[in-house]
C-alpha cells in the first residue's frame, strides 16, 4: 500500500508538469495581452510605451523562455507575482480566496449528501413509485438546468420579489454595525442562495449513485438471508444494505473536486462572491498569466490528489480490490 502511494505521488510530478506545459501554451495562445500593457485602442498609450511595459514584464521573450522562467520559480514553490499593477504575489491572492471557495463547496457538499442520499435511498426503496419518478425529475432538472439561469431566477424571487434574501456578496454593507448574532445571521443569509444553487446541480449524481448502489446491494444474497431471518425492513436497510452501499458513494468525494472548482467560476461570478472562481474569471479576462497558472496548478494538484484519495478509499472500502 505504501509503495503504491509513493508510486502514485511520484507519478503526479510528470503529470503536473504536463498540465502546466499545456496550460501555459493554451493561455498564451489566446489572443490579447495582459491589461497591464495598456488598454487596447487607447490613444494615450503609445506603441513605444506598450513595448517598454511588455519588456518590463518579460512578455517580449520567446514563449519557451517565459515558461522556463515560470518553471524555475515554480520548483521553488514560488508562483510569481500577478500581472495586475498591484504586483501582489499570486500565492497571497489565492490564499485569501481559497478558504471562501472551499467553505462554500464544503457546505454545498454537505447539502448534497444530506439531501441526495435520502433521496437515493427513498428511490431505491420505493422504486418506480410516483415519488421515485418525481424525485428523479427533480434531481435531473437540477442537473440539466444552467447554474446562471437558476441563480437569476432565485435571486429575482427571493431577493427582489420577496425581499427575503440578499442577492450578492458575503456580507452586508452595514456588517460592521451589526451585533455578533447579527453578523452570523448576515453571513448565513448571504450563503443560502449560492450554496443551494451549487448543491442543486450535484444532487442527481449522488442520488443516482446511491439508488443504484442500494438496489445492487438489495439484490445480494445476504440481504435475502437477513429478510429470511425475519429482520424488519428498516433494520435490514440500515444495518446491512445502507452501510455497504454508502462506501462507494464516499469515493465520489474525490472525483467531485474538479467539478467543484469549475462550478465556482460561474456561481461566484453571478453571486459576486470573492472566491477563487471569481479570481480565475477576472484573471482570465485581464490575461493575468501568473495568476491563471497559479490557480490552474492548484486546481490540477487538488484534482490529482482527489483522484488518489478516491482510489485509496476504494481499496479501503472494498477489500476485494488489492493495491500494490
Amino acid at each position: 500500500m505504501l509503495r503504491y502511494l509513493l508510486k502514485r505521488l511520484i507519478l503526479m510530478v510528470p503529470m503536473l508538469l504536463g498540465i502546466t506545459l499545456i496550460s501555459f501554451a493554451v493561455i498564451h495562445l489566446a489572443p490579447g495581452e495582459p491589461d497591464v500593457v495598456g488598454a487596447e485602442m487607447n490613444p494615450k498609450v503609445t506603441k513605444q510605451m506598450r513595448e517598454q511595459i511588455r519588456s518590463l514584464y518579460g512578455l517580449d521573450k520567446p514563449l519557451y523562455t517565459q515558461y522556463y522562467m515560470w518553471l524555475k520559480r515554480f520548483v521553488k514553490l514560488d508562483f510569481g507575482t500577478s500581472f495586475t499593477p498591484d504586483r501582489r504575489p499570486v500565492i497571497d491572492k489565492i490564499k485569501e480566496r481559497l478558504p471562501i471557495t472551499i467553505s462554500i463547496n464544503f457546505l454545498s457538499m454537505i447539502l448534497i449528501f444530506f439531501i441526495g442520499i435520502p433521496i437515493g435511498v427513498y428511490c431505491a426503496r420505493y422504486k418506480d413509485s410516483i415519488m421515485d419518478k418525481a424525485f428523479t425529475t427533480f434531481v435531473f432538472a437540477g442537473y440539466a438546468m444552467p447554474y446562471f439561469w437558476l441563480a437569476l431566477l432565485l435571486m429575482m424571487f427571493f431577493g427582489v420579489y420577496l425581499e427575503f434574501l440578499p442577492i450578492s456578496g458575503l456580507k452586508s454593507f452595514n456588517y460592521d454595525e451589526l451585533s455578533a448574532a447579527g453578523k452570523i445571521l448576515d453571513i448565513l443569509k448571504h450563503l443560502i442562495l449560492p450554496v443551494c444553487v451549487s448543491a442543486f446541480g450535484g444532487l442527481a449524481g449522488i442520488s443516482r449513485y446511491m439508488k443504484n448502489g442500494l438496489l445492487e446491494v438489495l439484490r445480494q444474497e445476504y440481504i435475502t438471508t437477513a429478510y429470511a431471518k425475519g429482520l424488519p425492513e428498516g433494520m435490514v436497510l440500515k444495518k446491512h444494505a445502507l452501510r455497504n452501499a454508502l462506501l462507494p458513494v464516499i469515493t465520489i468525494l474525490g472525483f467531485s473536486v474538479p467539478g467543484l472548482i469549475g462550478g465556482s467560476v460561474i456561481f461566484e461570478t453571478i453571486f459576486a462572491i470573492p472566491g477563487m472562481g471569481q479570481l480565475f474569471y477576472m484573471s482570465v479576462m485581464s490575461r493575468d498569466y501568473p495568476t491563471i497558472m497559479g490557480i490552474l496548478v492548484i486546481g490540477a494538484f487538488l484534482t490529482l490528489l482527489g483522484n488518489l484519495l478516491a482510489d485509496l478509499f476504494y481499496a479501503i472500502a472494498d477489500p476485494r480490490i488489492r493495491i500494490g
Binding site: A30, P31, G32, D35, V36, V37, G38, A39, M41, N42, P43, K44, V45, K47, M49, R50, Q52, I53, L56, Y57, T84, P85, D86, R87, R88, E96, R97, P118, L152, M155, M156, G159, V160, E163, F164, L165, P166, I167, S168, G169, L170, K171, F173, N174, E177, L185, L188, K189, I192, T269, I270, F271, A272, I273, P274, G275, Q278, L279, M282, S286
Partner: protein
C-alpha cells in the same frame, strides 16, 4: 422522520432570515436640508487593480483614485479647465512655459502638507523608464520642470502643445511616502494616501473598496460620509441589486431604461438621468479596399444607412445621430457639416456615378465584380451586432450584399484590426472630455501596426489642421481648425458616423444636489447630500487615516 425534521428546520430558518428590516418607502421627494452622513453604494463590473493611478489602465481603479487624489487642474461642469490643487497658472507668451501657483494649506490624508515637491516627484516618476505607466507620452513633451518655491511649480515644453495643460490633471502623488522606493511595490497600491475628498478606509479583495469623507478637504468636507464601491462581475446581478436598493446607482441599458425600470415602484425610489454619453459608434471602412477608395461609394453607403431607424429600433430612442467625432454639447462641435439623410435614390445615384450597375438579380456590380463585403463586429456587443443586421437589410434593399462576422474582442483587435484584415467594421470611440485633439485617430502618420488610424485615412489638409490645432492655445483659432476638420470628414466619409448613445443612469432618490451638465452628473458628487431624515445607513464612522 429525520427528513421531515430537517425540512421543518429549513423552513424555520428561511422565516428567521426573512425577519430582516423592511425597506422604507416614499418621502424621498422632499429635497430636505444638506446634512453630513449616509453611505453611497455603487458597483463596478471589474475590480480595481491598483490605486496608484499612473500604474493602472482600468476604469475601476481610476474611478476610485478620482475620489482619493487631486490633479493640479480639473474640468468643471461645462468641461472648462479650472484649478484643482493649482490656485492659478500663468502661460508664457510663447505658450511654452506654464507656472502653476499651488493652493496653500492643502494636506495629505496623513496630515503632511502638500507642496510643489510632490508635483515634481510625480512628474519624475511618470517619465522614469522603470515606471510601468502607459500615460507618460504627454509628459515626455516637457523640456524642463522646476520647483520655484514650495508653492510654485514651472514646466517648459519643447513646442506649444494644447493638450499639455489638462495633462496636469493627473493625480499628484505624495513624495514623502514614495520617493526612493520602488513605486511598483509600494503599499500605496492598496492603501492610497491622497489629498482628495475621500480617505481610503479598506479594500476587501474581490468584494469592495470603502472610502470615507475627508474632514480636512480643502474644498470642504463632502456631505456623503462613506462611499462603498462593490465588485459585481455580472451585469444582470448588478441590475437586480439596484432593483433591490442594495446599490444606489448604476448605468442602465436602453432596455432597462425604457422598459425594466419604467414602473412606479422603481420611480418612487430612484431618479433616472439621461444625457449624451462621451462615445460615438461608427461604420468604418478599410480605405485600401478597392470599392471604398472611392468617396462616392462611402457617401452612397451613408445615404443607405437609416440612422434614425437604428436609434429607434435598437437603442429604443436612447441616442442621437452622430455627424462627426464630437457630441453636440461640446464647444468644438460643428453643426454645419454635410449630413446624409436616409435616401435609397441618392445612394443609388451615387453608386451609378461610381460605375455600379444593377444586374438582373438586383445586385450592384462594377466591371463584373459584385458590390459585396463583410462587416466585422465584436462579440458581446449586442447593439453593434444588431446594427450590423439592420444595415445588412438596408443594403440588401439597394442591391449591396454583405456578410456579418462576429469575433471575440481580443481576436477582433489582434487578428483583424491590427493586421488591417477587414473590409468594414462597426466600432465606437470614447470622446475625450478634456481635449478635442483627435490626432491619433485621423493623422496619416498613425497608420502603423497597433496605431489607431487603422482605416488608413490620408488627407493632407486634415494632417495640417490636426498639427496646427494641437499646437494652438487660442480656443477660437482651434475651433476654426476643428470645424474645418469636421467638414472634411463629413465630405470624405471615412466613417459613416452612426450615433451617440445616451448615458442612462439611475440614482437613489435620497441623494440630492445632482445637476446634469455637459460633463455628465458626477462632476459635483462631493456636494451631493442626503437629508437627515432620509438616511439609510448609520455614518458614525471615525476617520482614521
Amino acid at each position: 422522520m429525520t427528513l421531515r425534521k430537517a425540512f421543518v428546520l429549513l423552513i424555520l430558518l428561511l422565516f428567521l432570515v426573512a425577519c430582516g428590516p423592511k425597506k422604507e418607502q416614499g418621502f424621498y421627494d422632499d429635497p430636505g436640508k444638506p446634512a453630513y452622513g449616509d453611505t453611497m453604494i455603487t458597483a463596478s463590473i471589474g475590480e480595481a487593480s491598483c490605486l496608484i493611478p499612473i500604474l493602472a489602465s482600468d476604469s475601476a481603479s481610476h474611478e476610485i483614485a478620482g475620489y482619493v487624489y487631486n490633479g493640479l487642474v480639473k474640468l468643471d461642469k461645462n468641461l472648462n479647465i479650472v484649478g484643482d490643487l493649482a490656485e492659478s497658472w500663468d502661460i508664457s507668451k510663447d505658450n511654452l512655459t506654464f507656472t502653476f501657483h499651488l493652493k496653500k494649506g492643502v494636506k495629505w490624508h496623513d496630515g503632511k502638507p502638500f507642496t510643489a515637491h510632490d508635483v515634481m516627484y510625480t512628474y519624475k516618476v511618470i517619465i522614469d523608464p522603470k515606471t510601468p505607466t502607459p500615460y507618460s507620452s504627454d509628459f515626455r513633451e516637457v523640456k524642463e520642470a522646476k520647483v520655484i518655491d514650495d508653492y510654485t511649480f514651472q514646466v517648459t515644453y519643447n513646442k506649444p502643445f494644447a493638450p499639455s495643460l489638462i495633462s496636469w490633471g493627473t493625480s499628484i502623488l505624495p513624495k514623502h511616502l514614495l520617493e526612493g522606493k520602488d513605486i511598483t511595490k509600494s503599499p500605496l497600491i492598496r492603501k492610497p494616501v491622497g489629498t482628495g475628498p475621500y480617505v481610503f478606509k479598506e479594500w476587501i479583495s474581490g468584494d469592495r473598496v470603502v472610502l470615507i469623507a475627508n474632514d480636512a478637504y480643502f474644498e470642504g468636507k463632502p456631505f456623503i460620509a462613506r462611499h462603498v464601491i462593490k465588485v459585481i462581475p455580472d451585469s444582470a446581478t448588478m441590475f437586480l441589486e439596484l432593483k433591490n436598493s442594495a446599490i444606489d446607482s448604476m448605468s442602465l441599458t436602453p432596455l432597462q431604461f425604457t422598459k425594466q425600470t419604467n414602473y412606479p415602484a422603481f420611480k418612487r425610489e430612484f431618479n433616472r438621468f439621461q444625457y449624451p454619453s462621451f462615445t460615438y459608434v461608427y461604420f468604418g471602412y478599410n480605405l485600401k479596399h478597392q470599392f471604398f477608395k472611392d468617396k462616392r461609394v462611402r457617401q452612397a453607403i451613408s445615404h443607405a444607412i437609416n440612422k434614425q431607424e437604428i436609434i429607434d429600433g435598437i437603442l429604443l430612442g436612447q441616442g442621437i445621430e452622430a455627424t462627426g467625432p464630437y457630441k453636440p454639447d461640446m464647444w468644438v462641435y460643428n453643426k454645419n457639416v454635410k449630413k446624409y439623410e436616409y435616401s435609397k435614390e441618392k445612394a443609388l445615384a451615387l453608386l451609378k456615378e461610381a460605375g455600379f450597375e444593377k444586374g438582373s438579380d438586383g445586385t450592384l456590380s462594377r466591371g463584373g465584380k459584385p458590390l459585396e463585403f463583410t462587416i466585422l463586429v465584436n462579440q458581446g456587443n449586442d447593439v453593434r451586432i444588431r446594427c450590423a443586421e439592420l444595415i445588412q437589410q438596408r443594403f440588401k434593399d439597394i442591391g449591396i450584399s454583405v456578410k456579418i462576422r462576429v469575433v471575440e474582442w481580443a481576436s477582433f483587435i489582434n487578428e483583424f484590426i491590427d493586421k488591417r484584415n477587414f473590409e468594414a467594421v462597426i466600432l465606437g470611440w470614447t470622446i475625450s472630455r478634456s481635449d478635442p485633439d483627435i490626432y491619433d485617430v485621423w493623422h496619416s502618420s498613425k497608420q502603423g501596426s497597433k496605431e489607431l488610424n487603422f482605416m488608413s485615412f490620408e488627407n493632407k489638409e486634415v494632417d495640417d489642421l490636426l498639427v496646427k490645432a494641437r499646437h494652438t492655445f487660442d480656443k477660437n483659432e482651434r475651433k476654426r481648425y476643428y470645424d474645418r476638420i469636421q467638414e472634411i470628414l463629413a465630405e470624405e466619409q471615412p466613417y459613416t458616423f452612426l450615433f451617440i448613445p445616451y448615458a442612462n443612469l439611475a440614482i437613489h432618490k435620497r441623494f440630492k444636489g445632482i445637476e446634469p451638465a455637459p460633463a455628465g452628473i458626477s462632476y459635483n458628487i462631493f456636494t451631493w447630500y442626503v437629508p437627515e431624515e432620509q438616511r439609510r445607513y448609520k455614518s458614525n464612522v471615525a476617520i482614521s487615516p
